[in-house]
């Protein structure tokens, strides 16, 4: 009761605010619950679930996608578990379960929702297998930490060894199923990941170029960065949709996804460059001076002293940029007609069974849910990393 008085009813004005906002919240929540459970017609999602999640991926090759997801889950959990330190105090088992729940509960709930919506046994089996591969990864990581033969393997052998299976599976998926058939949520992820990976080295080069003392290099880098940052992504995509083929020899005519990846890479590189430049500027001058005192030349100072620290400091900002990129992949759907999640969501409302029934709300709600869960989980992880690294506190 004291809590209520202090937090909700401090004064007359305060109480008024509580009442107003409280009633609005109740009204909105009630409407949403009614929509989700009573009036919403979710069969459009059920029927089109495959189209929404993977687009027109060939049915017979879908096992490659599930296999890749399982391998990736295994890799991530094994790598994470095997690099945990045995020296620091580990909280009790119950507490660890609670923390895992906090971190991954939302993801697990969404996975369960998807399985429930699809309503068939195959997806239940797939969900169980993904869970199994995560647990297997944990066991393998644990074994690495405790069992003596594995313990002796140096890190630079162990981690690539773990990565072999997922990389092979992903490469197989890419080679077997033509990229133009990929679609749905899968293609949003794919474009985002490829673009951020490709833009990373390019962005670092641009950042170094912008800080360089060589005037021509600085001019070229600055011009590029300012040009790209001043342009709307939507217009760049539209331009790439019509212009890219003019700039390459006709034998290399790019497909829609290749265009999307090109534009997103070039676009993100400029933003990554700004982030890295900010990181470089935040390194105290003392570091550079210490490097000079040790007799290192500029290149060595950059690669061994400043850049590693800068990159470590800007990891949260990088993750933020990735989240932003992930959400912006929806623009590729409108501008380049890539069959991404939002595009599919709009297109399926025109099917014979569903035309003109106002089912756009259901599809948009589903699309919003998937994007929201993805972005929210990633931003929470980034906050966690920020806290663990102690960025800005040391």
């Amino acid at each position: 009761m004291i809590w209520m008085k202090r937090n909700l009813f401090r004064s007359v004005g305060d109480s008024l605010l509580t009442v107003v906002f409280g009633s609005v919240a109740v009204y909105v929540l009630w409407g949403v619950l009614q929509f989700v459970f009573v009036t919403g017609r979710w069969d459009i999602i059920q029927v089109n679930l495959k189209l929404l999640l993977v687009g027109r991926f060939p049915e017979e090759l879908l096992w490659l996608v599930s296999g890749s997801i399982m391998a990736l889950a295994f890799w991530v959990s094994a790598a994470a578990t095997s690099s945990q330190s045995t020296k620091e105090a580990r909280p009790g088992f119950g507490r660890r379960i609670w923390e895992a729940f906090q971190r991954f509960g939302l993801l697990a709930a969404t996975g369960l929702l998807l399985i429930a919506v699809s309503g068939d046994r195959a997806s239940l089996v797939m969900g169980a297998m993904i869970l199994g591969s995560i647990i297997l990864g944990q066991l393998v990581g644990f074994a690495r930490r405790t069992l003596s033969p594995l313990n002796a393997l140096p890190g630079w052998i162990w981690h690539p060894l773990l990565a072999v299976a997922p990389i092979v599976l992903v490469a197989l998926t890419l080679s077997q199923a033509s990229l133009d058939l990929w679609g749905g949520f899968l293609i949003n992820f794919y474009i985002a990941i490829i673009s951020i990976v490709l833009s990373f080295p390019f962005g670092i080069l641009l950042a170094l170029g912008r800080k360089s003392t060589l005037p021509i290099v600085r001019l070229i880098s600055t011009t590029y960065i300012e040009l790209i940052r001043g342009a709307p992504l939507f217009v760049l995509l539209l331009l790439a949709g019509v212009a890219l083929e003019f700039f390459v020899p006709s034998s290399m005519a790019p497909g829609q996804i290749a265009r999307a990846v090109t534009v997103f890479t070039l676009f993100t590189a400029a933003y990554v460059a700004e982030i890295v430049r900010g990181g470089l500027q935040s390194i105290p001058a003392g570091q550079t001076e210490a490097g000079k005192a040790l007799g290192l030349n500029t290149t060595k100072i950059t690669t061994l002293v400043t850049l590693p620290q800068a990159l470590r400091n800007v990891i949260p900002a990088q993750i933020g940029q990735f989240i932003s990129l992930f959400k912006d992949t929806t623009l590729a759907g409108v501008a380049l007609n890539v069959l991404d999640l939002l595009n599919v969501g709009t297109a399926i409302t025109a099917q014979d069974d569903f035309l003109g029934q106002g089912l756009i709300y259901e599809t948009l709600a589903f699309v919003a849910l998937l994007f929201w869960v993805g972005s929210y989980v990633m931003s929470r992880e980034s906050q966690r990393i920020e806290k663990k690294l102690g960025v800005g506190q040391r």
């Binding site: 909700l8 401090r10 509580t18 342009a231 217009v235 539209l238 331009l239 623009l331 709009t346 929201w372």
Partner: protein, 387 residues
């Protein structure tokens, strides 16, 4: 007794750092130029093969379309349509920036409120909006709000008989007469008000009584505006429903409204986070000093915290403003006739795509650069002068 070094010998050419630096730069420059030249060569070959025009002559062709909100005739050249699109982009951007700052600041302060309900509401708002794509929000705003909530023109809402609200737009009362002269009256009213506030401030400095700038300034403003209105013979025109349209008054395009609301809601969620972070970054001592001076909560926020917080937040805010301007290009998906929509329509009507979109890109670049220069100027004025 070490021997002094002899006169410094010049290092050989291939180890001389100055030569190396310049050689490297020239190499980079040569690579970039070669790359650009290769691109240009491909462009020429491919364009020659496909007989598509690549110059800007299409700007002289008749537009063959009209758009709401202006008097553009369809026989006017495409160039005029582009200019109108440019104005529309500016319109939504400027209004959007103003509203975003207000809403974002309010939500940012609300996130730090002591009231649990307000705090939770603001947090839920920010976390919800920040994590969904803008395009999704825009599609939703267009469909759910404009098309579902607003009534059909036959059943339009007529609040106070002053406005006409329907899904074809919002009509507000407007004045008859020259807009430019009214703007001049507005400007002079603002100048006079500012003078009055300054005078009151000086008077208050001398005799120590409260300045009461607002109580003097506001009536001044109102008096000048009303006087100008009456003297120059302006009159109101109220909108009304006329068959299936609204006559009289000024009709705001529903797409403009949807785009504006979406941009404001989306960008203000980012601005709220920035404002919150910058309020928390204001040194705690300031807040405690304000408490020691017995300033009320509102006074503390207004006079002590917010000015300092804005100084910290300004660069990040400028970034968000730029984002808003660039995001306005998504208005093309809901048929708001801003720059990108104009470009798409002229391309559909036969204009060559590459020059049209390149021109659009250049215009956006210009707008962005001007805005960042303005933000930089504001930044420098606000920046603390370190002793």
């Amino acid at each position: 007794m070490s021997s002094l070094p002899s006169a410094p010998t010049k290092p050989p050419l291939w180890r001389d750092i100055r030569v190396l630096r310049w050689a490297f730069q020239l190499l980079v420059l040569a690579l970039v130029i070669a790359f650009v030249y290769w691109l240009y060569g491909n462009y020429q070959t491919n364009v020659a093969r496909s007989s598509i025009p690549t110059d800007l002559r299409f700007l002289d062709n008749p537009a063959n379309f009209t758009m709401p909100g202006n008097d553009l005739d369809q026989s006017q050249p495409v160039r005029d349509a582009f200019v109108q699109g440019f104005y529309n982009t500016l319109r939504v951007s400027i209004v959007g920036i103003l509203l975003t700052t207000v809403l974002g600041t309010l939500v940012g302060i609300a996130r730090l409120s002591k009231n649990f309900m307000v705090r939770t509401f603001a947090t839920a708002y920010v976390e919800l909006i920040r994590n969904i794509p803008l395009l999704l929000l825009l599609t939703f705003m267009n469909l759910a709000v404009i098309l579902q909530t607003f009534p059909r023109i036959e059943n339009a809402w007529l609040p106070l008989n002053l406005f006409v609200i329907s899904n074809r737009g919002i009509a507000i009362p407007w004045f008859t007469g020259s807009g430019g002269i009214l703007l001049a009256v507005l400007a002079s009213a603002l100048v006079l008000t500012w003078i009055v506030v300054k005078i009151r401030g000086r008077v208050s400095d001398i005799n120590g009584k409260p300045a009461r700038g607002l109580t003097w300034g506001l009536p001044t403003f109102i008096v000048v505006m009303v006087a100008g209105w009456i003297v120059l013979g302006y009159d109101w025109v109220l909108p009304f429903v006329d068959d299936r349209a609204t006559s009289g008054g000024l009709r705001l395009d529903p797409s403009f409204f949807a785009l504006l609301v979406t941009l404001v809601v989306y960008t203000s969620s980012h601005v709220a986070e920035i404002v919150r972070g910058s309020i928390q970054a204001v040194v705690k001592g300031q807040s405690e000093a304000a408490d020691a001076l017995a300033l009320s909560g509102g006074q503390k926020m207004r006079l002590v915290i917010l000015p300092q917080a804005f100084r910290i937040a300004m660069p990040a805010l400028g970034n968000q403003f730029l984002n808003l301007i660039k995001n306005s290009s998504l208005g093309a998906t809901i048929s708001y006739f801003e720059l990108t929509q104009i470009a798409q329509i002229t391309v559909g009507n036969g204009s060559p795509a590459v020059p049209a979109f390149t021109l659009t890109l250049l215009v956006y670049l210009m707008i962005s650069l001007v805005t960042s220069v303005i933000v930089n100027i504001v930044n420098r004025r606000l920046a603390l002068v370190e002793r």
